[in-house]
């Protein structure tokens, strides 16, 4: 009797078993791959819905960094007189803002992903990781548009020989830099999002945190303007190496070393893996607490 039940049990091929807990490392990446079309659909939705019914449409993607750069040039460049390492002020700030924006938007949006999507998460299942990933890709589109703007200024300055712009082969590292920025935003975002489902207060801290972090990153100042004894602190921030390398590659001024870049890279890898594991752990039960 018992034997027959066991054997019939074996014969049955369940395609899926929903159980209270699953392995910490069971990330269900194959399922994620099956839903790849959904990711693109979300990206498309974000892009279309952002500029629909606005007069300037996608132009806003340009205007935002231009206005911010303008303000930074006036306030930090002229009034405060912060150094830009002798590079053109507009390019200096634009480089910082473009990369920082990508990182911070990824982080911001990913961190509140459960809260923002509670209504849809509560009604239908799809691998939750799709959401943070779509945020990263959506913002990548935005970043690329803004990067084109940067390139326009860059080439203008390049052919204006009296401006101090000296690009070098480190430019080839650009994709790696973008990857690290995305990874950092995603990784931090996923960890924070997992925590915010339980501790809502973190959302308020996050806004401050990101702003503070920006001042701890060489966005509005070059690393070289920091006194020697503090440089190590600033360099502990994995975003520092990215922005400095970025400026070094395109403008020829900035701190570049393989060591710091490797540090940022490994930091990112660890962060993304850790973030994914934590996110997956929280994802299954968050609907009951959010």
């Amino acid at each position: 009797m018992t034997n027959s039940t066991i054997s019939s049990e074996k014969q049955e091929q369940w395609t899926e078993i929903i159980a209270p807990e699953r392995g910490l490392l069971d990330l269900q990446l194959t399922e994620l791959w099956r839903y790849r079309d959904l990711l693109l659909m979300f990206v498309r939705r974000d892009f279309i819905s952002t500029y629909k019914q606005t007069i300037l449409g996608p132009l806003w993607f340009f205007l935002q960094p231009i206005l911010t750069t303008f303000i930074y040039v006036v306030i930090f460049g002229h009034f405060a007189g912060l150094s830009t390492d002798g590079t053109p002020k507009i390019l200096f700030y634009l480089a910082g803002i473009t990369s920082w924006n990508y990182f911070s938007e990824c982080l911001n949006k990913t961190a509140t992903v459960f809260k923002d999507n509670a209504s849809i998460f509560g009604k239908v299942y799809f691998p939750r990781l799709i959401m943070p990933l779509s945020i990263v890709v959506s913002n990548l589109v935005k970043f690329i548009i803004q990067f084109i703007l940067f390139l326009a200024f860059f080439f203008y300055s390049l052919f204006n020989s009296d401006l101090n712009v000296h690009p070098n082969t480190t430019i080839l590292l650009t994709p790696l830099l973008i990857f690290i920025m995305a990874g950092l935003g995603l990784g931090f975002g996923m960890i924070i999002s997992a925590l915010t489902t339980k501790y809502r207060d973190l959302i308020f801290l996050l806004t401050f945190g990101i702003q503070l972090l920006m001042y701890a990153t060489p966005v509005i100042y070059p690393l070289s303007s920091i006194p020697e004894q503090y440089q190590l602190f600033i360099q502990a921030n994995p975003m520092t190496a990215i922005i400095e390398t970025f400026r070094y590659a395109y403008l020829g001024h900035g701190h570049f070393s393989w060591g710091t870049l490797l540090y940022s890279f490994s930091f990112t890898i660890v962060l993304v893996i850790l973030g994914t594991i934590i996110f997956n752990k929280v994802e299954k039960g968050f609907m009951d607490t959010v």
Partner: protein
């Protein structure tokens, strides 16, 4: 046994009541501290078993407790139960929106859950874009949606507006488009939760037909949750009746519906002797009321067109035989508007003599009410003096039923009451 596609084993789901989030950091730290010293979790309350309706001072309740059932391929399972019975929780677990506390669900095939129509619809996107977005959210790939696209548009009947943002749609069009996407999914198991409550009657019929179709012709399995007993009865072949988070009955749908309607029969008997908010000299007093079906069995929910018997026990305090007694029962809807008055002096005549302690019955031959909750007021007069008058004595729950014996139902948004009528041709 090879055709079992869903097997639910000892499934339980516990929810935490009250405010979640405040003070959890200190709780968690406490918990962690206890754990590191090898002590018991100071906040867990394992081993307490209670139903959701039972009041306890604990802040954890079991929304589902030890649920077991199996669904075979091609079956349409109707899940019924009162509010709070655990239907929605069960669907959430099946659709993986949330995880079970204990137990497991084994599945064969992909599940598409329709807990809401149009999940993820974005108002700024056009109908076409939303079909792709919604389809992808529900688990289809882009090419699958492309193949089904014409069918979806056709089913929805909104082809003229397919390139208009859905925010310009009427709510009916919106729902039709949303259901069309879901109805044309490829998944082997379809879960549908009360979505039919929206849309016009014709479209509802279309949806029901579609569900029937995917089950019988395509061999897919459907799980259907509804309060509409007529639809459940017509569509499903098996039923799962939930009560307080446990399975009360699992079997043929007719049996489940019957048990569901007779559920809580004990509660149907309502004691009126303790009511203080009454007017009158008390010569005749209403003591107890109970609603009975045509077999004179207590019943809690009635279907439109059913026979209802209102059985009232009364008493005279001085054990005197009563003379010339008028009794009236007023029927109110949920807005406390009086719909009608049933009085013995109108339909029959006043009771000339009544024993001092007995029971009277008021029979409603064919309940002409649509879905809703109604209430009764009782009134009695002995020799032109008001002897007892109680407002809101007992509730009458009505679910849509087969009033015309045709299997068709007048939509509740089309009617306040049902009329006994029929059509015929005069000049042959």
């Amino acid at each position: 046994m090879s055709d079992v596609v869903i097997r639910v084993e000892n499934l339980s789901k516990q929810y935490q009541l009250g405010e979640i989030g405040t003070g959890t950091i200190s709780y968690d730290l406490n918990r962690w501290w206890a754990k590191t010293r090898g002590k018991e979790d100071p906040f867990s309350k394992i081993g307490i078993n209670f139903s959701p309706t039972q009041t306890t001072n604990s802040d954890h309740i079991w929304a589902l407790k030890d649920v077991n059932f199996e669904v075979r391929q091609g079956e349409i399972l109707g899940i019924i139960g009162r509010n709070g019975a655990g239907k929605s929780t069960l669907l959430k677990l099946l659709s993986k929106v949330t995880k079970p506390s204990t137990g497991q669900i084994k599945l064969k095939g992909r599940i598409a859950a329709l807990l809401e129509v149009g999940t993820g619809f974005h108002p700024e996107l056009t109908g076409r874009e939303n079909i792709f977005l919604n389809g992808a959210i529900l688990g289809m790939t882009k090419s699958e949606i492309k193949n089904k696209f014409d069918e979806i548009v056709d089913f929805s009947g909104v082809e003229r507006y397919i390139d208009t943002p859905v925010k310009r749609y009427s709510s009916g069009m919106y729902v039709r488009l949303a259901f069309a996407v879901a109805a044309n999914l490829e998944q082997e198991i379809l879960i549908v939760d009360e979505v039919l409550a929206v849309g016009d009657a014709e479209f509802q019929k279309k949806c029901l037909g579609k569900m029937q179709d995917v089950s019988t012709n395509e061999g897919r399995t459907v799980l259907f949750v509804s309060h509409n007993m007529t639809a459940i009865n017509a569509l499903c072949n098996k039923g799962l009746l939930l009560k307080n988070g446990t399975v009360e009955n699992y079997g043929p749908i007719g049996e489940c519906v019957k048990i569901y309607l007779n559920n809580n029969a004990e509660q149907t008997k309502i004691n009126l002797s303790d009511r203080k908010d009454r007017i009158g000299n008390g010569v005749f007093r209403f003591i107890e009321v109970i609603l009975l079906n045509k077999y004179l069995k207590p019943q809690n929910e009635f279907l439109s067109g059913e026979e209802v018997n209102i059985m009232i026990r009364y008493k005279n305090i001085n054990d005197m035989t009563l003379k010339n007694v008028s009794i009236a029962i007023a029927l109110n809807n949920s807005f406390d508007t009086q719909l009608t008055n049933m009085a013995n002096y109108i339909s029959d005549k006043t009771f000339e003599t009544l024993p001092h302690d007995s029971t009277i019955i008021c029979k409603i031959h064919k309940l002409p009410l649509v879905t809703g909750t109604y209430s009764f007021n009782f009134f009695s007069r002995v020799n032109d003096d008001i002897s007892d008058w109680i407002i809101n004595t007992c509730a009458l729950n009505v679910e849509s039923g087969d009033y015309y014996k045709t299997g068709q139902v007048t939509e509740s948004n089309q009617a306040l009451f049902l009329m006994d009528y029929n059509f015929s041709l005069i000049n042959k």
